[in-house]
Symmetry: C2
Subunit: 110 residues, 2 copies
DNA sequence: TGTGGTTATTGACATTCTTCGATATACGCC
DNA sequence: GGCGTATATCGAAGAATGTCAATAACCACA
């Protein structure tokens, strides 16, 4: 009989990580990180035309990335006249930090 | 001529986010999050056999995910006899927190 | 209403990723 | 050395993702 060590209880692998995966997937693209970083640095509204101008991507692709960020709630958008302005969602940083902490908590407590 | 507002300097989109993308890509899968979470909760070594036992994946797939986590430095592995034990890298939490902060800094300073 | 400019959506294609079976490698033991 | 077990690698199939051209939707203005 094999003296197999018990290193880990099987329930430890059974958590539901889908909500966090959605956020991390949104971060798993360099152009979306550039968009988020610009929004965070600006700390205000940025119109789509600036993204299409500053990114090496065509307009539909930029729109696609913005939609992904919108769908997971990391950014908000508001149309004002002809232009659409995007902002970092107020709780974006907190939600990302919380998601990270839910996976690899910094707290030393059990 | 169109009175186009200047919302954003074009250089704001030009950062290099490749190092962070690698980390976030590693987090963009529920099974890898389960592995990382288990390693973080255990705060010690976990042998591969426990992952293959606890995850709904075949052994080659588990090995593949572990390799991805190893390649980006979030986990370390050590063979001891027949078994291979994985650990969360000592700086894993810090590197992830730093990557997040590099994109959407929490600090209010410019 | 029509025209021009901005953003969103659709459909298609190429690439990447996840998963698996088959196989190889590494180790302990007889 | 030979055998059994644990882990890694290879190669391929299917799904998901990034990208673009074409087009639609929306808005301001004449």
């Amino acid at each position: 009989m094999s003296m197999q060590r018990v290193c880990l209880s099987p329930e430890s692998l059974k958590g539901d990580f889908e909500p966090m995966v959605g956020l991390f997937k949104a971060l798993a693209d360099p152009h979306r990180l550039a968009i988020l970083s610009a929004l965070a640095r600006e700390d205000g509204e940025v119109c789509v035309c600036d993204f299409t101008a500053g990114l090496p991507l065509n307009q539909p692709t930029v729109s696609h990335h913005l939609k992904i960020l919108r769908d997971c709630g990391l950014v908000t958008s508001e149309r004002r006249g002809t232009w659409v302005y995007y902002q970092l969602a107020p709780d974006a940083r907190q939600r990302l930090a919380d998601a990270l902490d839910a996976v690899v908590p910094l707290g030393v407590l059990a």
